[in-house]
């Protein structure tokens, strides 16, 4: 026993050090406290994104102020980011150092990566159901929606693997903003449901030039008839519409298939002027507003920037031209079976050592689902509230009914963009979420970006080109490592230091020795007892 004691002492000294080092691995799963401690002060960190829209910032600050009035012991520190990619990157970095925010606006694809840290993100299944502090809980100081009052598709998007790890905050889709004046000038009529074939045909027709090199359609030197903002969405939606593979729910990559190639060939055939992308040319809305684009596909959450009477403007006023804007669903392969993406920010709550702090964070996240926050934020852009409760209020219905009354709060294009999602929710879909799905999404867009650039650079785009493209994109995004390779989190954390490896090995050896010693003593004792009996 004297020999075993020092070993135990060694373990007691080293074990806490091993557990506490190297990030926040091994955090215990969050358990809802019996009651919320209102006497303790909490300063929570909330990371959000704004769309360069001051009103959105005000919605956040107003929500924080009113929440803090209800819960004076909780202070919310808001940090705004310009894009989701930066939030993702910062969260990954902060998981490694154990300094994540308390609440964060993000995408489910990203949450799947955050979840590779054990219990980093709070699983919400039981939290939702908690009688006191769950959705519509009895002890809440505000009127939050019940689980059934969240739009089913939107809450299902927050289910990752076996549970809910987020709540939806806002939802949008993509819309095709059309310069109807131009389409009609070219002798076409906009169909009820757009098809890819229609867009390609009109786009090619728009390239006709005058003798002096200017475009017949606008009399100018610039005309890019079709511009797509998010080429990852472009590829994802096309594949869904065409019934082609993208990925399985458990992360098998299916994107490198023949239908993808066929679509890229079509894109290539129109990349000599008829089609371009945001990454190559700039915001579709800017070209659209200047009369240099006919079909601009962008998020409904950017609708206030689109149209000749747009609320927000990113080009000089003198560059604007007058035309009629029509908002339509994105082009389809089969108009009778349309598909469009459901997208938009969700909220996740990060786990902390103090369950009371996590509860405080959950209360704030839930507060962002209340009607006032939902409606006021949704009305800043072509978003829709994620709760049926908010959607069905008289206030929101009145807002929708007043489309076109002005070019600001009731801007027609913005409200029509929201209506597009409200009326077509049944056609929306999302892509499977797994650790690595964010990379696959990037890869989907990269295939299109590379193809367009290659055509513009007069490279040969043939079968051999696509073989190489698939290989390059696969390698760039390490798609072949998604299931078997090290995770993004492991990469962020890096390899264990040699000292830690040594300690872990020593620890294993110590445990083995203790177990062996224990077994030896038990066996010896048993033998001695048996000898005594005999």
């Amino acid at each position: 026993m004297k020999k075993v004691l020092p070993l135990i002492l060694v373990m007691l000294v080293f074990l806490p050090a091993l557990v506490s080092c190297h990030g926040s691995h091994g955090m215990l799963e969050f358990q809802m406290p019996e009651t919320f401690d209102g006497s303790k002060q909490y300063e929570l960190v909330f990371w959000a994104k704004n769309d360069t829209n001051k009103i959105q910032t005000k919605v956040y600050t107003d929500a924080i102020a009113s929440f803090q009035e209800l819960y004076p012991n909780i202070k919310i520190k808001l940090s705004l980011y310009g894009d989701y990619g930066r939030i993702y990157n910062d969260v990954i970095t902060n998981i490694a150092t154990g300094t994540t925010p308390d609440v964060c606006i993000t995408y489910p694809d990203h949450i799947a990566t955050y979840m590779t840290g054990e219990n980093t993100v709070v699983r919400l299944d039981e939290v939702f159901k908690d009688e006191k502090y769950g959705l519509h809980g009895s002890e809440l100081k505000f009127d939050s929606p019940g689980f059934d009052q969240i739009v089913p598709q939107f809450i299902e998007e927050c289910k990752i693997k076996d549970g809910y790890y987020a709540i939806p905050y806002m939802r949008s889709t993509e819309a095709c903003y059309i310069n109807k004046t131009f389409v009609e000038a070219l002798g076409y009529e906009i169909p009820e449901t757009l098809t890819w074939d229609f867009i390609w045909e009109v786009s090619e027709a728009a390239l006709a030039k005058n003798g002096d090199g200017t475009y017949k359609l606008n009399g100018g030197n610039v005309m890019i008839p079709f511009i797509y903002k998010s080429t990852d969405n472009m590829m994802i939606q096309y594949l869904k519409q065409a019934g082609a593979g993208y990925s399985t729910s458990d992360g098998e990559i299916l994107i490198f298939n023949d239908q993808t190639k066929e679509f890229l060939q079509t894109v290539a055939a129109h990349s000599n002027g008829a089609f371009s992308t945001f990454k190559i040319s700039s915001y579709p809305g800017n070209f659209f507003n200047a009369g240099q684009c006919i079909f601009a596909i962008d998020s409904t959450a950017g609708a206030t920037w689109i149209g000749s009477k747009a609320t927000h403007l990113d080009i000089p006023k003198e560059d604007l031209i007058e035309f009629e804007t029509v908002v339509k669903m994105i082009p389809q392969v089969n108009p009778d079976a349309p598909y469009m993406i459901s997208q938009g920010p969700s909220l996740c709550v990060f786990n902390k050592k103090d369950p009371q702090r996590v509860l405080a964070a959950w209360l704030f996240a839930q507060y962002l689902l209340t009607d006032t926050v939902q409606i006021t934020y949704a009305e800043t852009e072509g978003y829709v509230p994620v709760t049926l409760k908010a959607q069905e209020t008289a206030e929101y219905k009145e807002y929708l009914s007043r489309a076109g009354e002005d070019n600001d709060h009731y801007y027609k294009v913005k409200i029509e963009a929201s209506e597009l999602l409200l009326k077509n929710r049944q056609y929306t879909f999302t892509t499977p979420v797994f650790n690595g799905s964010a990379s696959l999404r990037d890869a989907a867009g990269q295939l299109i970006e590379n193809t367009v650039k290659s055509v513009r650079r007069k490279e040969t785009v043939d079968d051999a080109y696509f073989v190489k493209l698939y290989s390059d994109v696969n390698a760039l995004y390490r798609l072949d490592q998604i299931n078997t390779g090290e995770s993004v989190m492991q990469k962020a954390l890096g390899k264990l230091p040699k000292t830690a490896v040594f300690l872990l090995v020593s620890l294993g050896a110590v445990w083995t020795l203790i177990a062996a010693g224990f077994i030896y003593r038990v066996v010896r004792k048993k033998r001695a007892e048996m000898r005594e009996k005999t």
Binding site: T52, K54, Y81, N89, I280, N286, R456, R457
Partner: protein, 232 residues
């Protein structure tokens, strides 16, 4: 004697072979300006300022004696990025691109060369508002004797893109001879702890100021300002 001759011959051949390494055909600034978008170009230029490094990609303002080149998302390790200081000579091969009017080099690769050059600041006040301004795109420039105007209807002298966290650009407007221009403090180039960021936060409508920066373009001139001082 034969052995000596053979040795001399071998040595000469070696020297000749070394001298005849792959010849790099450089693009002059005039050729770069005239080239169509997507043309492959190779330029030797000098780092003037670094905007950002993220995900192994760097965005850099460069200039040589002929003109300036904005390098967007240049693939670059953090180690190499740290080596790129003001004046560092680099050879860049990439494609000419134009994004919202900004002419840049993308999809490129680079190598560090020996040599150094820090470009002088060119005063472009006289060509503000004219078609000639675009000739100075991406160069290190100065605007002198400008008057601060109200940024918006609130009467503020500047605006934050992120007023809460101050994690993004600052915008302000200045005028000269009755024309008003929008300028920007690009956050990744000059963050909230820099003198220029603080100087813009202290601006008042009506202040007379001299400015320096890089003549970035975004749907028109959109200089990234690096220095704000009271007008001399």
């Amino acid at each position: 004697m034969k052995k000596i001759l053979a040795a001399i011959l071998a040595l000469t051949s070696l020297i000749v072979m070394c001298a005849c390494g792959p010849k790099v055909e450089l693009t002059t600034y005039a050729q770069f300006k005239a080239a169509a978008v997507e043309t492959e170009v190779t330029v030797e230029t000098y780092v003037q300022a670094k905007q950002s490094w993220w995900n192994d990609k760097a965005t850099i303002y460069t200039q040589n004696e002929e003109g300036a080149y904005f390098l967007y998302e240049l693939p670059c390790s953090k180690e190499d990025y740290d080596k790129l200081t003001e004046g560092t000579k680099i050879r860049v091969t990439g494609h000419k691109a134009e994004w919202a009017g900004e002419v840049e080099i993308i999809d490129s690769k680079f190598e560090i060369l020996s040599g150094s050059y820090v470009a002088p600041v060119t005063d472009v006040t006289g060509v503000l508002g004219t078609d000639k301004l675009i000739d100075y795109m991406n160069m290190k420039v100065a605007f002198k004797g400008m008057t601060v105007e109200a940024y918006d209807e609130t009467g503020a002298a500047f605006a934050y893109k992120d007023p809460e966290g101050k994690t993004d650009d600052l915008y302000f407007k200045v005028s000269k001879d009755g024309q008003t221009y929008g300028f920007c403090v690009e956050f990744y180039l000059c963050g909230k702890d820099t003198d220029v960021y603080k100087a813009v936060e202290a601006l008042k409508v009506g202040d007379k100021i001299d400015l320096e920066g890089f003549l970035y373009w975004y749907n028109g001139a959109n200089p990234h300002i690096t220095s704000v001082k009271a007008a001399q």
